[in-house]
């Protein structure tokens, strides 16, 4: 079986994203908040700050301290996830922070912190990418000075087909060469990749091609992120 010939399960083209929906300012208590839906994956992010660092000894003298928390809601997956932090969610909190930090003018907020909380309400692969988009939108909604938005998307390979934005069903493919999943975050104005992970097997040539596709996907999402804010302030 070749996925190049048969195409994808949901009939998308190789370089086609799932439908994306975004909204900002959804949680009144948060300084900034956002909801992002990519296909069947839903992420809600909320930001508090800049505020005093707790505990005080964690304070950074020359820049903003960013803390990110990723949480998979227990009923977001078909098999119930145990509530509370897991090793996976702690790692993802860290990679989300590392993905968005470059986009923020951290030197403008010394001795203070922001906390970003992301809840994955519904998961169908690509939850860390949806989380990064939501986190970046929420930070922007909080009015924190930024260089740019941080779009993120997974690219990868299903058997012999290099494609964009894999679903859970596609990630679980074991035929032929199996599935490879490469989540990417890319800041267009800086031309920098701030998230890059890989899970599977892939040749160097295919990897470079996949990353290029991922960057193209990020640019598409970046445009949508800009439009959300344009639309928000137009209506006001």
């Amino acid at each position: 079986m070749s996925y190049k010939k048969t195409g994808r399960f949901d009939g998308r083209k190789a370089d086609e994203l799932r439908p994306v929906e975004m909204s900002v300012g959804i949680l009144p208590n948060c300084t900034g908040s956002a909801r992002v839906q990519v296909g069947k994956t839903v992420a809600i992010a909320g930001v508090y700050g800049p505020r005093k660092v707790r505990p005080k000894h964690a304070e950074l003298k020359d820049k903003l301290l960013i803390r990110c928390y990723y949480d998979l809601v227990s009923f977001s997956v078909t098999d119930r996830a145990r509530p509370g932090p897991s090793r996976r969610s702690i790692e993802l909190g860290l990679v989300i922070k590392n993905a968005i930090e470059r986009s923020i003018f951290v030197e403008k907020y010394p001795m203070s912190m922001i906390e970003v909380f992301v809840e994955i309400v519904q998961a169908d692969a690509g939850s860390r990418c949806a989380a990064i988009i939501a986190a970046s939108l929420a930070v922007a909604d909080a009015g924190i000075e930024m260089r740019d938005f941080v779009p993120a998307v997974a690219c990868g390979k299903i058997d012999d087909l290099i494609c964009l934005d894999l679903t859970k069903q596609e990630e679980d493919v074991h035929d032929g060469e199996g599935a490879t999943d490469i989540p990417i975050a890319y800041i267009p104005s800086e031309k920098e990749i701030t998230l890059l992970q890989l899970d599977g097997k892939i040749s160097e040539k295919d990897l470079m091609e996949a990353i290029k596709l991922g960057i193209k996907g990020c640019e598409e999402i970046h445009k949508m992120m800009k439009d959300v804010f344009k639309k928000r302030y137009e209506t006001k």
Partner: protein, 261 residues
Amino acid sequence: MSQDVKNYIIELAKKNKRNTDNRGLEEFRNVIIESGVSKNAEGSAKVSIGDTIVMAGVKMSIGTPYPDTPNKGNLICSGELSPISDPDFEPGPPREDAIELSRVVDRGIRESEAVDFEKLCIVEGEKVWNIFVDFYILNNAGNLIDACGLASIAALKTARMPKLDEEGNVVLGEWTDEKVPFKRVPIPITFVKIEDKIMVDPDNEEEKCASARLTVTCSDKEINALQKGGEGGFTLEEVGNCLTKSFKIREKIVEVIKGIK
């Protein structure tokens, strides 16, 4: 919270007025219920009471019954004070108030036998359904007990039974048309006491001014759970008034729940 704000709210209460809106002492804020917030859950719902937003979801699995109830399924209802919902909530293990919230909501649903536990028995003494109801607070604007209780009940009402394969194991991600068997609809109603005034559905500033709190969980005709909170107390007459009022208030909320599928 500053003493000025506190005095202001206390003065308002003395005049039978509320903090941020024109509602009366016995009036709830606007209640909105939206179902199906997570398609991977057996059932799920999002409830807003004013600016308070809570979502709840139901997951089910097969387990063994407790030895003292061999013919009954189990239900566990839990949640935490998520740090996303309030600038004062911190990440970490749940503290006293989070555990109280979780247990009050759990008692209301379990003790009232909202769900027909005997129908959740598959093989007596061996196999029963376990129901997990988890709630997540997205925005805290007061009265979390009622919001979490309502969200949990709404999620349970929308829940479908998972599909079983030929060997009797759960098929993940597939459901039958059968709903979780319901017996009654318990609704928690929370009152707080500010000076000598008693008001329902407090917002978070009113909660901070209150000396005492009383949560009455009632279904159609009976009372299923009570919890008194805060350091102050209620007179017998005040408790009686709260009980009578809670049945009236419940009727209005049940109307909103009836609308969801």
